[in-house]
Symmetry: none
Subunit: 210 residues, 4 copies
DNA sequence: CATGAATGAGGTTTCATTCAT
DNA sequence: CATGAATGAAACCTCATTCAT
């Protein structure tokens, strides 16, 4: 009856296993991996997969929300433990992009890519939560003169979502390393400089993210 | 018989129309648009589409090579007309990313994403050609002190390929503007600076691109 | 061990509840309601349902035999309490078709519809029992000049089985009323008349019912 | 482009074959025959079936509308060729119920049974058309003193829909004969008589049919 | 004995590709 | 050479049924 009731221990294990496998496969092959493939790699039958996630949408939702929770945890820790805003930002980018594979990218990407997820209340809640933390950090770093004034947390999250993708033409095992490299270059681009050209396009703010 | 034989005028039109439509659809919905959809939007029957491109692979190959040709033309013009290497680079990035929509991104992306294309001789030839031009420009700009020494043309093309994608959560019509914005930030990141932190990951060179 | 062993009181309740729910659902949605739906509406788990009825066949058998018992009771009462055969017949039709909802229709229908039930000894026994009572009533009413001579108890039961179904295009709550109406018209048709056209088709007798 | 454009000759043949097979199978086994079975018996591949009817609903719609057209043609002919209304009615009932197998029953049944069909404009149009003809005939026959005054065309069509179904427990090949028999008994019931009991239930009129 | 998780067969539907007109 | 019909493999999803807790 209660939808959030505790699962049986083995069922909970299965659920986690499915999410992990789906996360990896989606990151590698995109959101339309065969459900059978997910089931097989997770070591369950197709029926079990569908009992836990009644359709593809729910599976992706499960993966996205799961990722979001992890990314938010990283952001919170970074903000709490690092007194300096810029340091907190770089730590967040490094950890979210590196340790958790493509967690951040997936989370942010699916947050908006899968049309149906865009109206999911839980997803919107988590996204707002994350963007609030990042917004605080960006503004503090800007006040410290570390980040250029014409960028926003929306820019940061959008670039992360774009850069945290499978890299075409690179051996898959080089991808995490590559991601770290390009995220570092991105941070360089966001830094405040004595004199820089103005950015061309319209500013993108939190309000534009949906 | 001769595969390069001139097509009849109307057939040639069909071919171009198909490529244009396929390019747009792939850029928007990914590489697995239904062939029927491509045919319908191009105003031809499915049979005609298959007469021109015997299977999906050939269609994507057509799109990718076509894009590559355009991007290379842009790169050549920029190198020829701009005496300054850095100016040529920014012009290339701006024009390839802007005027041609997602041409550049598509080209580079498919160059490596579709496994079968990775061994396609024509594709390899064009890719080498483009990377050679970019490599010249990057090295010259580095010699001029405009670009940091620890990046390569491979980095440039990879980041372009990543940033030139549909932006999740943004209205589709904002995408080109957003692309311009993020490409500009990327160029900032590539600039040589008095003192910067070293890049974390292994250098990625032309040799790593396949 | 003993299949007819008394069930525990609560188990017996479960069993009755399941039959009632299954009866209603089958009457409304046909014989292929999901077993899970039956279980849910009966307030038991799917496991309990299967403990009581090892498969769908047994469940339907349970429903059909249960209905049959009720219909037979009605027929017996009508025969016992009404001295006039025609009155007994109309009373049977009215009560079996009305009070018990679709009990009669279901009973007779499933008796023959579900192939596997056609060879079920208990089902055959009950069907023979019911038809024997109806046969007595029809013959007596024919002897009284109340029922045309070219119809049989087989005709009567067949028409009841056909008319006691959900009525397409009618609000579900009008169905019982409609059933009463059409059963009444059917009885009119069965009446003996001074001069009527002969019935066209081959007579259908008790022997044809299987 | 034009959805009603002529099909190629062979495709038209296939379409008709599919409808015929689907009609027969649905009449025998209900509306949930496997699509594969329909395809196989029609001698086409599953793909062809789905090209012609994009889903089960469209297939059933095709069958129902096809039946309706035939039934309406029968009704029109009967009304045109028989000067006497009662004779026209009996002819309609006999022909619609006999020659066309279960055409009439199917048509009327699906018209309302498949919820989605209840709002189909073409279906509603045909149903109204048929009921109008039957209504004219019933009223004329009532004026002639041949049909009881408390029944309507709605009663007639509803009883036909109910009686034209597979007969449980009867060999399938006896079904058409049985249908003819029960339709004849039904007509007897509808006849005007010197003195009859009033019908119990609320009158059912054309307005109640949806 | 009740529960609800897991299995897997089978039905539905989509689409790349081939081929008759 | 264009058209659009036919094919069939593969994906999606739903349940009946079994079995661990």
């Amino acid at each position: 009856m209660n939808p959030d009731r505790k699962l049986r221990a083995d069922a909970q294990l299965n659920r986690e296993q499915i999410i992990a496998v789906a996360h990896a496969l989606i990151a590698e092959h995109g959101a339309d991996v065969p459900m059978e493939e997910v089931a097989r790699r997770a070591g369950v039958s197709i029926g079990t997969l569908y009992r836990r996630f009644p359709n593809r949408h729910e599976l992706i939702r499960g993966v996205a929300l799961n990722s979001f929770h992890q990314v938010i945890a990283i952001a919170r820790t970074a903000e709490d433990e690092e007194p300096d805003a810029w340091t907190a930002l770089t730590r967040f980018v490094r950890e979210a992009g590196g340790d958790l594979r493509l967690a951040a990218g997936l989370a942010m990407r699916f947050a908006g890519t899968w049309a149906a997820l865009r109206d999911d209340p839980e997803n919107l809640r988590l996204r707002a939560l994350l963007l609030k933390i990042l917004d605080r950090l960006v503004r503090r770093a800007q006040a410290d003169g570390k980040v250029r004034n014409d960028v926003s947390a929306a820019d940061l999250s959008m670039m992360m979502a774009l850069l945290l993708r499978p890299m075409p033409g690179l051996q898959p095992d080089l991808t995490p390393a590559g991601a770290g490299r390009y995220l570092a270059l991105m941070l360089e681009g966001l830094r405040a400089r004595p004199a820089t050209d103005p950015l061309p396009a319209p500013e993108i703010t939190l309000a534009d993210l949906r």
